[in-house]
Symmetry: D2
Subunit: 364 residues, 4 copies
Amino acid sequence: MSNSFGHSFCITTFGESHSDAVGAVIDGCPARLPLDVADIQACLDRRRPGHTTLSTPRREEDRVSILSGVDQGVTLGSPIALLVRNTNVKPADYIRFQSVPRPSHADFTYRSKYGILAASGGGRASARETVGRVAAGAIAEKWLALTHDISIVAWVSAVGPIEAPDLTERNIIRADVDSTPARCPCPETAAQMIQLIQDTQREKDSVGGCITCVCRQVPVGWGEPVFDKLTALLAHGMLSIPACHGFEIGSGFPGTRLKGSEHNDAFVVKQGRLGTVTNRSGGVQGGISNGEPIVFRVAFKPTATIGRDQTTSDYEGHPTTLAAAGRHDPCVAPRAVPVVEAMAALVLADLALTHGRSQGKTDD
Amino acid sequence: MSNSFGHSFCITTFGESHSDAVGAVIDGCPARLPLDVADIQACLDRRRPGHTTLSTPRREEDRVSILSGVDQGVTLGSPIALLVRNTNVKPADYIRFQSVPRPSHADFTYRSKYGILAASGGGRASARETVGRVAAGAIAEKWLALTHDISIVAWVSAVGPIEAPDLTERNIIRADVDSTPARCPCPETAAQMIQLIQDTQREKDSVGGCITCVCRQVPVGWGEPVFDKLTALLAHGMLSIPACHGFEIGSGFPGTRLKGSEHNDAFVVKQGRLGTVTNRSGGVQGGISNGEPIVFRVAFKPTATIGRDQTTSDYEGHPTTLAAAGRHDPCVAPRAVPVVEAMAALVLADLALTHGRSQGKTDD
Amino acid sequence: MSNSFGHSFCITTFGESHSDAVGAVIDGCPARLPLDVADIQACLDRRRPGHTTLSTPRREEDRVSILSGVDQGVTLGSPIALLVRNTNVKPADYIRFQSVPRPSHADFTYRSKYGILAASGGGRASARETVGRVAAGAIAEKWLALTHDISIVAWVSAVGPIEAPDLTERNIIRADVDSTPARCPCPETAAQMIQLIQDTQREKDSVGGCITCVCRQVPVGWGEPVFDKLTALLAHGMLSIPACHGFEIGSGFPGTRLKGSEHNDAFVVKQGRLGTVTNRSGGVQGGISNGEPIVFRVAFKPTATIGRDQTTSDYEGHPTTLAAAGRHDPCVAPRAVPVVEAMAALVLADLALTHGRSQGKTDD
Amino acid sequence: MSNSFGHSFCITTFGESHSDAVGAVIDGCPARLPLDVADIQACLDRRRPGHTTLSTPRREEDRVSILSGVDQGVTLGSPIALLVRNTNVKPADYIRFQSVPRPSHADFTYRSKYGILAASGGGRASARETVGRVAAGAIAEKWLALTHDISIVAWVSAVGPIEAPDLTERNIIRADVDSTPARCPCPETAAQMIQLIQDTQREKDSVGGCITCVCRQVPVGWGEPVFDKLTALLAHGMLSIPACHGFEIGSGFPGTRLKGSEHNDAFVVKQGRLGTVTNRSGGVQGGISNGEPIVFRVAFKPTATIGRDQTTSDYEGHPTTLAAAGRHDPCVAPRAVPVVEAMAALVLADLALTHGRSQGKTDD
């Protein structure tokens, strides 16, 4: 199914941008995990639009409720249903798009596929769909932290042509990331990014960006060989995020320019166990985690919805001019940071539990 | 499971580099597809090592047998089992790796995960595992061609720092690709690539590369929203190929540097239906094909196994020097071309059949 | 996952007997199905307890909300989330069961498996979990009726030793079934069943029963060979219903006493197409529907929770006496009728869409 | 897909009755299980036809090969491919069935579904398909025995109207079962069964039968609540066996006649842990194993293929008379014994590994 992700820690998300609610059901979360609604709300608050001048003016409380699966502050091992009501629904903004598909948006393909389009807004193609991912990811993340001391931190490493220096070996934490609205932990680069985003917004235009993510303390052995490699599932998860155009692990595309003798990560004893001197593998070898930090990078295209006039065609084939009045971010990267972290957490929790399975672990 | 790929057109591959055989079972291939063993053999022959000086000297016939699922030249709708015997097994080459994990190879992670390592060779982590993918992909490809006139062509677009010009809008065919051992259809670039690969081989080193793939005639509407976007499944499939370090669709990572007004693909009437003027979306919008060519690019790291001495550590933590005697390619990109095509075919066939399902089609 | 059912028309249910809500998410319902909340409410009303003296006094409105996936009265092809609030929660009734597992109930096994028990009531093992199934089944049923004119009718064919005559060849409709609180469309048998249930209730005891289900107008060809036979999925669905102890298709267990020459269903032309003279196959041959009515029978054990004193043991191993104060039905069969119908609808809708897939249908 | 079974210990079977080979691929078998081809051959030998006068004269060696996944006598954790060549192929026997569908056989439904029929024999609907199940089940069984000391024994408990006494509380072993060709461990009943089967064979007719299966030493906690209950998966597995018409757990259909006070299994301390006095639950409560023996019963209809003349219709609708010349058993029950055991082993191994997953076990 297209609305579920994960085999062992499996989430199903639901909700259109303007339906009654959005949410997620998590099936497979282990029992006896301490879980409070505040754990989830904290992640949703980081995702929520409207908190800075860099993002869409859509303002929603995004208050999450836990409907099931938690009793007296701990998980029961049963499905955890999470619900967030949609409160700021403005269908009128979207009437035009029933006759003119927005360029590089999903209007045309959804209508072609389903023979129908949600009467308002982007339906499932809206970034609002990611509410369910972030809420579910918060639970995965808590489980990973409590059981394995794993930390996951992502930040904006590029906005348009502005690139941050390589920060993957510094121990960046979320407070560093959130210290600027650009969500780039290098203050100088952040200032440039903010300037570019504001300029772009003024021009009623948009710009792309990249996010770098580091997952620390992932044990050796997670990831399934062949088709469910850790890299493959991460790529799957990231490319499923709206507007994502690329994924690279470790040395990525630039690493293809190196020689093997430059690129290989030699083994060495570190903290009493075998580690690698360098980490061009991004913490994954043969699809399986090797104990080094998982490091990957994700590309987000410029937001498709822009306020400028665009020459395009309506569904009938008549040339027309379109300018979007809907709410949108000039650059999705800052708000996509918690979404990237959530998808990373979901992949890791899923592979952690799948690994237990492949180890033949069956006892209490 | 880690050894299966696809929901509707599902393959399961099996076999280690030095077991009796490698192969695949395809479950979900529609009935009544004309299929001959030669259809599959042709694709395997393109994958086979040993046909040029650019690849490993391991010479295997790689003769495929169809064990089931085909009767009198057509598919029955039942599982198609494909078998290729391993004939050129040299376990002696691999004894050293039982005590010293090869840097940036899967030896260490496999042994950590399973507590055991195939006595010889890379086991499932060997590129030999891709025999099953290519054999299965040949069937997917034939079905796509016969039912939808879809063509899939991939080529080497970069070797180390040498990059081919953008050929995605030229109608490249496989004969163009195979006209040079570098599998780059631009003869000038190919010559440079060949030179670089041969130099690298002489230095007992390796080099990375990139592959570009174009899928033409894919109908509008394939790909499932949210988690099983066409892009997400392509990324999953590509990152599951050994040595793959990155995936990008359409404008990819470079596209993040553009403004939305530069990047958006405006709609226009083309050949009687709605198409786009440009194709920075790479043929996919909101995760669903839009009728334009699917265009993506895949990064392959430099081959991990090199003949040069590398300073590393054995499993006991003792520093040591390792030089691989096993068979390996100085650059995996040329041989990965049919593997990329096969995975693309498998993703498309799977989504094609899943699309039929989501359309509620149930009649004959 | 244990809380999802179906591959193509897939439901995920959630909610404990005493959590905030119970519900379901349906992923894979085709787009453009007219759907109103009343379609679902009607099925839930048939399932609801408290409407006759034969069932538990737990009285809940069970008002369902559609949170997503439906816009202006038609489905969008996106996930349909359904929610029913739990209003009549009486945890105090269940405190005793934290220390004494109810015999033949799931208390002991759940606590052993998860190391925790929902603080009140049966959690996921409660019959309340079936709310989500019935709500989702209502949608499957509507789709089957509108697209294929399929009807599904189940009734109580036995309560304890009282067996109804074979009614499978009469065209029973739901109004016939609902005309008595026993949900047996034979009035004489129903009267006996009601008497037995009331006597049993007076004795603070419970009794088992059987349900027969007939699905008409199922086209030839639904059901997947080998592991996902129509019979296998029906059996899976039925045995997943709380208290179900058996499933038989067509001639079932009694049919094993016949000779092949007595049992075989000879082919004959019926209404212009090939049908069978008899229907001992229950409408399924080789796991695939043959166009005859699907006929099966389901066994439900006596309700485990009874008001009489039972000699048993607490978790510490101390012998004790237990009498349940919680709410329960003396015979589950009458209330299980809509649950059996719902599971049958879910299996058929799932196989219908899977069949379209296996047919290679991919176009609009 | 219809040709795979299991989520964690997953098998995919392939092969038609008259293709080159039949076999299975097992994905998910834990690493480091000692495994020899003889382990598998022993189970296949019990399944093989032709060893007594009670079964089909088709004589095949059914020699199994392990193609992958095992190295130096232990499993690698990678897919295990098993192959059995078809040697005794007599397509000429089956020409008639291209024009006349055999009553109560899968000819008609397969041809309707796929638009094609295997040129000879029953294709995937043949009992020969069960070779792959038995071979894979042998591995599951070995793993269950070595890791949990689990034993699985099935026997013929009814042939036509002849029923064996209840032997579920006696410690029946396979040698007892195999001591008669009827595979009923009660010698007096076995003698009557043999007589009935031989008489039936002489009459060119067939007869149905039942199999009882007991699984001992299954730990508490296996089976997933709601949709993947241990009972639901067992029912799924059993109803997927050719000719299976029914499944019941514990007290089954007869148990519906009891009162709750008679039926409930009271708890009591047994061997230092909580057990039950009786076992009407068949070892499963709320879908989860409770530590008591798993006991279930399976119904097999009379073999559809009989040597007697049957009045039926050809595909064109013309009445005709058909007498099967193909090879078939007068009663499938004795040969189905190892198939029932294999499916039980596959369900248990799958749930064992899934249980480890749901327990959140992730470490070595």
